[in-house]
């Protein structure tokens, strides 16, 4: 793999067998992708298009049926860590135990893991909540803890699967700004999945537009907006131009499928 690349995917396809009909269906169709170190890349697409599936393949939860993916492994730290849509903090652990969990999985002794987790808890502005239990935190705070947990293992690439989807609109905006702040300080490569176009443009250096199932990359749009970005940038003409462009692509993908909404049950994505 080339120098300076964090991730390189070639020709990734994902086939699966539909439980009911027995047919072989394609979830992800020929994805080629290069991500440079330190880049923030988003994938946007209609619901069920396979973008989450692709992320899970990168995370190693299940293998693709074809193609290769290479991830740069750093000297220290993990190759990647995933931030799930649902915070999945263990309800029986305190926040600090949850955040330190990734390290404990790697065999790091508990005290040391907690010590290493502390700065990340501070980074995500959850100082003081270390000994609380997840049920005592709001949705936004739980997601911040979720993020801290992923950052604690010092991953080369951070995989985020619609992490803000479960939050209300206002919290969501605030979390987007928070995420950029944290990303600035932590200098991570990020692969971010969302179905919200605004979110993708606001956060990323590049936005990949995925088609409806089977998912292929329709476009790779470089976002040329200055950083650091404030939330107000969402109302500037340049931003809106990008939004229109991407929405145009997605809506033409969506139109034939308006009546298919009811059928998307039990899909792999």
């Amino acid at each position: 793999m080339q120098q300076g690349l964090a991730l390189q995917a070639r020709d990734v396809r994902m086939e699966y067998v539909d439980q009911q009909s027995g047919d072989r269906l394609l979830a992800v169709d020929r994805v080629d992708l290069d991500i440079e170190e330190g880049q923030f890349v988003s994938i946007v697409g209609p619901s069920g298009c396979g973008k989450s599936t692709f992320l899970k393949i990168v995370n190693g939860l299940f293998p693709a049926t074809e193609g290769t993916i290479e991830i740069a492994t750093p000297a220290e730290g993990s190759a990647h860590a995933m931030v799930f849509q649902d915070s999945s903090l263990f309800p029986w652990y305190t926040i600090i135990d949850n955040v330190a969990y990734g390290l404990v999985c790697q065999g790091v002794p508990k005290k040391e893991a907690q010590a290493r987790a502390q700065p990340l808890i501070d980074l995500v502005s959850l100082s003081g909540f270390e000994r609380k239990f997840p049920y005592q935190l709001s949705g936004g705070m739980q997601q911040r803890a979720n993020l801290a947990r992923a950052l604690t293992v010092d991953p080369e690439i951070l995989l985020m699967d619609e992490p803000f989807a479960a939050l209300d609109a206002q919290t969501r905006e605030l979390m987007q700004a928070e995420l950029l702040r944290i990303w600035n300080e932590a200098h991570k490569t990020v692969l971010f999945i969302t179905h919200q176009i605004d979110e993708a443009i606001y956060l990323s250096d590049r936005v990949l537009v995925m088609s409806a199932r089977p998912g292929r990359i329709l476009a790779d749009i470089a976002i040329d907006l200055p950083r650091p970005r404030q939330l107000e940038i969402k109302r500037t003409p340049a931003f809106i131009t990008y939004a229109d462009q991407i929405w145009g692509m997605i809506s033409s993908e969506l139109k034939p499928h308006i009546h298919d909404v009811a059928k998307t049950t039990g899909t792999v994505a």
């Binding site: 086939e15 072989r24 393949i57 990168v58 293998p63 693709a64 049926t65 740069a72 049950t265 039990g266």
Partner: protein, 277 residues
């Protein structure tokens, strides 16, 4: 340094038989049954296990065949079955309405709660002496009473819970369309209570069967329970276990019947994906 994630192509579809063999649940289950039966059979034949106590698979079948040819057996079977049926039906007929009422009227529930809790955690065998004094040793009275008590509480309590936990949202929707209280009950509360009632029915069957055996073992007048006791006293392990087997089969049939009833009432439920690991 980089790590490569390999891909794994889908395996080709197997033939029907291939997939059947793949079905681990079936395979291991069948293996479990066969292994145990074989051990039991040979253990008994080689005198390792005492036949008069434990019987033997083939012996049980033989005893069963012999038994069904006697007249007494059918008398016992009828007795047990009718005790079960009458007690259980009575429990349904009384239990469901009372459960619904108690769920609907909070104060009724408060009044009934202590009694329900008390009788539910009480081993019903303890009531047999009283029931026998009331209904006499002979005749089905005491047995039907035990069956009834066992099934009744199992049905009332879940039914009541079902009514109490009706989803508020559906009630709010119905009320916003000005539904009458009775319509509300019929169209929202009862359908959403059905799963609970079914659970109650299922528990009730188990409790009812236990009631039958308990009462018969205690009163020793007639029924399959008496068959078991007699056979045990005569050291006829095969015959005794045949009796036990009859109860096991009844239990399985009962539960399966409830499952069928449940399926008919729950057609509106989406298929949930079970265990994917």
């Amino acid at each position: 340094m980089s790590v490569a994630i390999q891909s794994q192509p889908l395996r080709p579809q197997k033939s029907r038989f291939g997939r059947l063999l793949d079905n681990e649940r079936l395979l291991y289950g069948a293996a479990g049954v066969i292994v145990f039966l074989a051990l039991w059979e040979f253990g008994s034949r080689s005198e390792f296990i005492d036949r008069s106590f434990f019987g033997r698979p083939t012996g049980i079948i033989e005893a069963g065949i012999a038994e069904v040819q006697t007249e007494r057996f059918w008398g016992d079977l009828f007795a047990s079955f009718s005790e079960f049926a009458i007690g259980y039906l009575l429990a349904i007929v009384l239990g469901i309405p009372i459960g619904l009422a108690a769920g609907r009227f909070r104060r009724l529930q408060f009044a009934l709660d202590p009694w329900l809790n008390f009788f539910n955690s009480l081993p019903r065998i303890a009531l047999l002496p009283v029931l026998v004094i009331m209904f006499g040793v002979f005749g089905p009275g005491s047995k039907i009473a035990v069956v009834f008590l066992g099934a009744f509480f199992s049905i009332v309590i879940p039914t009541m819970q079902g009514v109490r936990t009706t989803d508020r949202r559906y009630l709010d929707v119905a009320r916003s369309f000005n539904a009458s209280e009775w319509l509300l009950f019929r169209s929202v509360v009862i359908p959403s209570t059905v799963p609970f009632i079914i659970t109650g029915l299922r528990l009730g069957i188990a409790r009812a069967l236990i009631g039958v055996v308990t009462a018969e073992l205690y009163t020793q007048t007639e029924g399959i329970g008496v068959l078991i006791r007699r056979a045990t006293e005569l050291r006829q392990g095969d015959r005794a276990l045949f009796g036990v087997l009859l109860f096991t089969i009844s239990g399985i049939i009962g539960v399966e019947a409830i499952r069928r009833v449940e399926a008919r009432f729950q057609k509106w439920r989406p298929q949930t994906s079970l265990e994917r690991r």
